[in-house]
């Protein structure tokens, strides 16, 4: 056991710093550091800059164009990006559908989709949840009926993040009605430009438009877009969910936000918030080392399993606590609202010396979703109870 980084590791860290210094797009950097919202094009520019560096597939195997990095390298990469406050790498292509395609897809699908995912030529979104299904994912009702070379898809998906930007959606659809609801589900890739698809925004309590409902009316999907076997979609879905939970904790981003919070509160007279911050920081390092232990197990040939549920639960709890501390630090100056909607002029309230206060409540409210989506934290506890504790 050894916590020190090798010379090679240190050299690698320098490479990441060089990227951040020279190749990370300047306009993205500037907006991020000012707390401005990024456009779709900004996000594309950022992801493409990673691709050009050869790092888009930072957690993919070499054979599919990934980096094949060691856990230590992935850790360093994420840490440096976090410290530099880069945008979150969008997970829908790289961490979700990508691994499903290279694990369960056929050669043609790999050739067709993987390069565009890495190069960020296609923006993906996730068609899992439905209005009635929620945490009971397998109860989904969106139907795909085989009709010659096509499936005809009818139904709707909800809570679809950034569907308004997406080129493709990966969907769980019901291809057969069976006794056991986990059977008869298939995994289908659908071009968002196909006729019959309608995207409607859902405004969340933070006033933002990030999620959507997606409606499918007689949507014709080529049968070649089916991943793996018809009816085996549930297996692929569970594989994806375990991968999704991994990295969901956003430790590097949390470290960056923590740094800002400490700067903001360093002159506070009362110790209370400082103790809360210390308590949070301690738990954050415990979470970080839990991720590292899991990464080490993976490097020894394991798979992300129920242990990743710990990371989902603790990671989202800590993210939520962080947003609560931001609210506490801002005090009454959370009131004036400068969100995307509303009547406000471009004036900034006199009490807001930075964007710190005005964003506090929006972030707080926005992060409530993290303990709900991707399998609510209650569901994660059910998973651990069953898979690890055996009760």
């Amino acid at each position: 056991m050894d916590i020190n980084f090798s010379d090679a590791d240190n050299q690698f860290r320098q490479e990441v710093k060089d990227y951040l210094e020279n190749k990370y797009p300047k306009h993205v950097k500037e907006k991020q550091n000012n707390g401005e919202q990024l456009t779709k094009q900004d996000m594309i520019d950022y992801h493409k800059s990673l691709y050009e560096q050869g790092w888009a597939g930072y957690n993919w195997p070499v054979e599919y164009g990934g980096t094949g990095w060691s856990p230590t390298q992935i850790y360093i990469f994420q840490e440096e990006l976090g410290y530099a406050n880069t945008p979150t790498i969008l997970p829908f292509g790289l961490n979700m559908v990508g691994p499903v395609i290279y694990t369960f897809g056929n050669e043609e699908q790999k050739k067709k989709f993987l390069p565009d995912i890495l190069e960020f030529n296609t923006w993906w979104c996730q068609g899992y949840s439905e209005p009635g299904s929620g945490s009971d994912l397998a109860s989904l009702k969106t139907k795909a009926v085989r009709d010659g070379d096509h499936y005809i898809v009818n139904g709707s998906k909800t809570w679809t993040t950034l569907a308004q930007n997406a080129d493709w959606i990966f969907c769980l659809v019901r291809t057969e009605t069976t006794q056991k609801k986990q059977e008869g589900i298939s995994f289908l890739l659908i071009d968002m430009k196909t006729e019959g698809i309608e995207v409607k925004p859902i405004i969340t309590i933070d006033g933002d438009h990030e999620v959507n409902s997606v409606f499918f009316t007689d949507v014709k999907v080529p049968a070649e877009n089916l991943i793996g076997e018809e009816g085996k979609g549930w297996t692929y879905a569970k594989f994806l969910l375990a991968h999704e939970r991994f990295g969901i904790a956003g430790v590097p981003n949390q470290k960056y936000s923590l740094k800002l919070l400490k700067e903001r509160t360093k002159d506070f007279a009362d110790d209370d918030l400082k103790k809360k911050i210390a308590d949070y920081e301690i738990e954050l390092s415990a979470l970080e080392f839990t991720e590292l232990r899991t990464l080490a197990a993976l490097a020894n040939g394991g798979h992300p399993g129920a242990e990743s549920s710990i990371i989902k639960i603790k990671g989202t709890e800590l993210q939520q606590r962080l947003t609560e501390m931001y609210v506490e630090a801002a005090g009454q100056y959370i009131l004036p609202y400068e969100g995307p909607e509303g009547f406000n002029s471009n004036n900034t309230p006199a009490s807001n010396v930075s964007d710190f206060s005005s964003q506090a409540v929006s972030r707080y409210l926005n992060f409530r979703k993290t303990s709900i989506y991707g399998g609510s934290n209650e569901i994660q506890k059910n998973i651990i109870a069953k898979a690890i504790l055996g009760v």
Partner: protein, 364 residues
């Protein structure tokens, strides 16, 4: 000792409850919040007609001479219905400051508040004083008022401001017309759909006739206002917590997952029990605080600090659990449930948050 509401108090509750159910649905509220900073002149007129704008004022001033208990009753019901009208800013806060004054200008202003023809906000908070509301820089020199007040509630609709300032070392409260030369308002919608603003006073002429209160009376008036305002928003939060747990119970009975209503799951049941308990114990402490304030008990201020600290914790727990148990619907803007959490967050931030009041309680 008597812990039962009087018939009169029960009737008042009934009246507010009925109004909210018939005239102030969530959809109606959302329209007002989205279009007009939470204030609807017609609703305000209804309030005036129902006599609600007269509730806390003395009979001498044309009011009903009701006290903290009746205000708490009203706010508990307002909390259930997420009422956004500027009752707190006008009737409670300005009302409290004005009622403490015996001068004619104050009396005149009260009568205009009661009939709904004017709106008044107390401008006391400043950007750099955190929650130390008596640490102010706004000052009067040579009859000219200068300073910037922040987070002035309902600044968008206020026709005049009760400005907390100092004249040399002495605290003074002036009534300043919003249209007076040198007054400028920069207003914002608040996160929970009401409004507040920065109000800047630049060489505003303030004669002696505009003084509502001065010296010790002025700082006492601000303290009394803060106690009463905190009591009212705590009552509002208690109403909101009650609505939150009731709506959550209802939702979980209707929402089916894994082939059954999710209310069947023991973990969710216990979470709802925790919500219920938090709402009930908060309500109990509200009783203590309103009774003490009503009885002019020396301990009232301390109890109100305790109540505010308790509400900060309980309402956060209840609001978060309500959102969590509603799942995706909990974070959707079109459902009321997330708006309770928002309002709880604002209530905690107003007039000293949980940590501030925990300190206060500990030191009093």
């Amino acid at each position: 000792m008597n812990l039962s509401y009087s018939d009169e108090q029960n009737m008042l509750r009934e009246q507010v409850l009925k109004f909210c159910e018939s005239d102030y649905t969530f959809d109606f509220r959302e329209k007002i919040v989205e279009s007009n900073y939470g204030h609807n002149p017609e609703t305000w007129k209804q309030f005036a007609d129902l006599g609600w704008l007269a509730v806390p004022f003395s009979e001498e001033n044309g009011g009903f001479n009701f006290g903290p208990i009746e205000l708490a009753v009203i706010f508990e019901e307002f909390g259930k219905a997420l009422v956004a009208e500027p009752y707190l800013a006008n009737v409670v806060m300005s009302g409290s400051v004005l009622e403490s004054s015996s001068n004619e200008l104050a009396k005149q202003t009260i009568s205009e508040i009661i009939d709904g023809t004017t709106q008044v906000s107390v401008a006391f908070s400043e950007a750099n004083n955190g929650y130390n509301f008596h640490d102010i820089e706004t000052s009067v020199d040579d009859g000219k008022l200068n300073g910037v007040k922040t987070v002035v509630l309902n600044a968008s609709f206020a026709n005049s401001f009760l400005v907390y300032a100092r004249n040399g070392d002495k605290p003074v409260i002036y009534l300043v017309d919003a249209k007076a030369a040198g007054v400028s308002v920069n207003s914002f919608s608040t996160v929970d759909g009401q409004n507040c603003g920065d109000v800047t006073f630049e060489n505003v002429e303030v004669g002696e006739s505009l003084i509502i209160s001065h010296d010790n009376d002025a700082s006492q008036a601000i303290n009394a206002m803060l106690d009463l305002a905190n009591l009212c928003i705590c009552a509002e939060a208690v109403g909101g917590m009650t609505a939150s747990y009731l709506k959550t119970v209802q939702y979980t009975k209707e929402r089916e997952q894994f082939g059954q209503p999710i209310s069947n799951f023991q973990v969710l049941q216990h979470k709802m029990v925790d919500m219920f308990i938090e709402a009930e114990v908060s309500k109990s402490l509200l009783f203590k605080a309103m009774l003490q304030l009503d009885g002019k008990d020396d301990e009232a201020s301390k109890t109100i600090s305790g109540l505010k600290a308790q509400i900060g914790k309980s309402s956060r727990q209840v609001g978060q659990a309500a959102v969590q148990l509603h799942g995706g619907m909990g974070v959707s803007d079109e459902m009321s449930i997330g708006h309770y959490l928002k309002r709880f967050t604002v209530i905690d931030a107003l007039f000293g948050n949980r940590n501030y009041h925990l300190n206060n309680f500990s030191n009093l």
